[in-house]
Amino acid sequence: MASSGRPSQLFRNKTAKIAAIPMILTALVVFVGGTIWTIVYSFTKSGLLPKLKWYGLKQYDRLWSTTKWMVSIENLAIYGICMLILVFIIGFVLACLIDQKVRFENTFRSIILYPYALSFVVTGLVWQWILNPEFGLQNIVRDMGWESFAFDPLYNADIAIYGVLIAGLWQGSGLVMVLMLAGLRGIDQEVWKASRVDGIPAWKTYLLIVIPMMRPVFITTLVLVATGIVKLYDLIVAQTGGGPGIATEVPAKYVYDAMFQANNLGQGFAASTMMLVTVAIVVIPWAILEFGGSKKHG
């Protein structure tokens, strides 16, 4: 697009360009610049302060031989997979139920979605309380007669992460339900009619016709939930503090602890770069799927 002869393309839409400076600055300096900076410094020997001393891949070596990091990754994997599967099942089933033209739809939706309006800290604390063996659920069931009922996941290193999962599901399924419901309502009503005339039972219609038609909504929701899972931090800090021991450590907490408590910036940078790689693995294929080929971002 040659602008020969024209004084300057630069000054057309001048005001608009000036107004967009915050966006441009942010995009470049923070998102691009900051990310590159962190990646670069992950190859340095930074301790309390960033030091541009080349350290090769040694930070990553250390990272992957640290138990705390391995546990973090494992926890994130367990939490992530379980959360993804369960939140979709729960969210979709709830959406189907509400889509049956129930009365009090608004009430049900309000109750199922309100946890999403709460901070993860609030969620973590209240579930810490409910799962408290002395006063919480375990106590109640024991009082009711089942003396040997044991349910204190937060004190059991092996299954503590599942205690966090319960809280996470409680908080997040409302969101998935709302998105699935919107997707369900976007289905052409006449397809439902055609299916009825053909004599297809409702469950088959959902499974073989409606769900395939909802693929875009599923994918978008998947990306949203997945990127939220990687960021898991507040919930852990509030509900278990990473414990018992390091049983519920997660990558995001590893980064924070390394950077601001262990004075080990290098480890923090390496760990956050690994987190970025994880997200990229999910987002880039999706982005190519959604926007590849057609450059219709305007």
Binding site: E190, V191, V197, D198, I209
Partner: protein
């Protein structure tokens, strides 16, 4: 015997009466069109016949069976929708066979039916394609095919051509008529387009406000509309109306006086009353034929709309604006004096109070 019988059908949504005490008998092999403007209840009625809407009172019989409480798939009907409603993730063949497989129809029977439908509708080359890869016309044929393979007696069409552009609509209209001639099934067809109605129907039911205003053949609806609404609805451009008095067998308004001898009265018309006289633009004679017309008048042309095949001429008669349809080659212009003739035997007369035909 009657293919479909509807008795005393009522449908109410909350406090709104959508369909009121509807009765309709549809003959075997008939092509019946439900015609009306938006909100008249035609689609609603079709959905009730299909079993997709639950009725408030009354009965529906199909082929002698009382299907009022039956599921749509048990009523012996096939349905074609305005948006085609094909299953998007399946191939054409998948769309045609999905319902049959679900009903556990034997494989060779399925093959036979699909082959037959594909041949009749000429969709054989499309069988392996998905709906997204088809044109609008092709999709509609697949939708018809889906109804065809159900091997039923009654087909229901819910404004199937409304989503197509004008030329495609005209082509498919002809195909639908041919299809009906070939198959001979009872077809109930909903549309707001009068041309579709007039060309396709054996009988037309014109609906308004949940009631049937007239149920007759296209010819009768056109020539002998039972009330003013039907008379106004059918015909483009619409009928000219004059409100005046019927006294002793003669209609007068202003300086327009029409002796109604030879007019086919359907009521006793013994008392004089306020009446509405209607005559279609195409039934007003001009040129040499005027001298033989019962009523003759001279009008001044206000506006001329040349349309190629016809010319529409606007003038004033008895204080009312009225339209005359003339030949496309007529040499007329604004300000001309035009002699016109009216034949009361081709006109319509309505009671001004009830709007019913006299």
């Amino acid at each position: 015997m009657h293919s479909v019988e509807i008795k005393n059908l009522d449908l109410q949504f909350g406090s709104v009466k959508v369909l009121q005490d509807l009765n309709l008998d549809i003959h075997d092999g008939e092509f019946l069109v439900l015609l009306g403007s938006s909100g008249c209840g035609k689609s609603t009625l079709l959905n009730c016949i299909a079993g997709l809407l639950e009725i408030t009172d009354g009965q529906i019989h199909i082929k002698g069976q009382n299907v009022t409480w039956a599921e749509p798939s048990e009523r012996g009907i096939g349905m074609v929708f305005q948006s085609y409603a094909l299953y998007p993730q399946m191939t054409v063949e998948g769309n045609l066979t999905f319902g049959l497989k679900n009903a556990k129809v034997p494989k060779d029977e399925i093959k036979r039916r699909v082959a037959r439908a594909a041949e009749i509708l000429q969709i054989e080359p499309l069988l392996k394609r998905k709906p997204a890869a088809l044109s609008g016309g092709q999709r509609q044929r697949v939708a018809i095919g889906r109804a065809l393979v159900r091997d039923v007696d009654v087909f229901l069409f819910d404004e199937p051509l409304s989503n197509l552009d004008a030329k495609l609509r005209a082509d498919l209209r002809v195909e639908l008529k041919r299809l009906h001639q070939q198959l001979g099934n009872t077809m109930i067809y909903v549309t707001h387009d009068q041309i579709e109605a007039m060309t396709l129907a054996d009988r037309i039911a014109i609906m308004r406000g949940g009631k049937i205003m007239q149920l007759s053949s296209p010819d009768e609806i056109y020539n002998k509309p039972k009330n003013k609404y039907v008379a106004d609805f059918i015909g483009s451009p619409s009928m000219n109306f004059f409100e005046g008095d019927l006294k002793g067998g003669t209609f007068t308004k202003g300086d327009l006086s029409v002796p109604m001898e030879g007019y086919d009265f359907i009521t006793a018309h013994t008392t004089d009353c306020r009446a509405i006289f209607g005559v279609r633009p195409e039934h007003i004679v001009t040129g040499e034929l005027v001298t033989r017309a019962r009523v003759q008048a001279s009008v001044t042309i206000d506006l001329v709309e040349p349309m190629g095949s016809d010319t529409l001429v606007y003038a004033k008669l008895a204080g009312e604006n009225f339209r005359i349809r003339m030949d496309g080659q007529a040499k007329v212009k604004i300000g001309d004096q035009l002699r016109v003739g009216i034949d009361p035997t081709r006109a319509s007369l309505f009671d001004a109070a009830t709007e019913n035909r006299l």
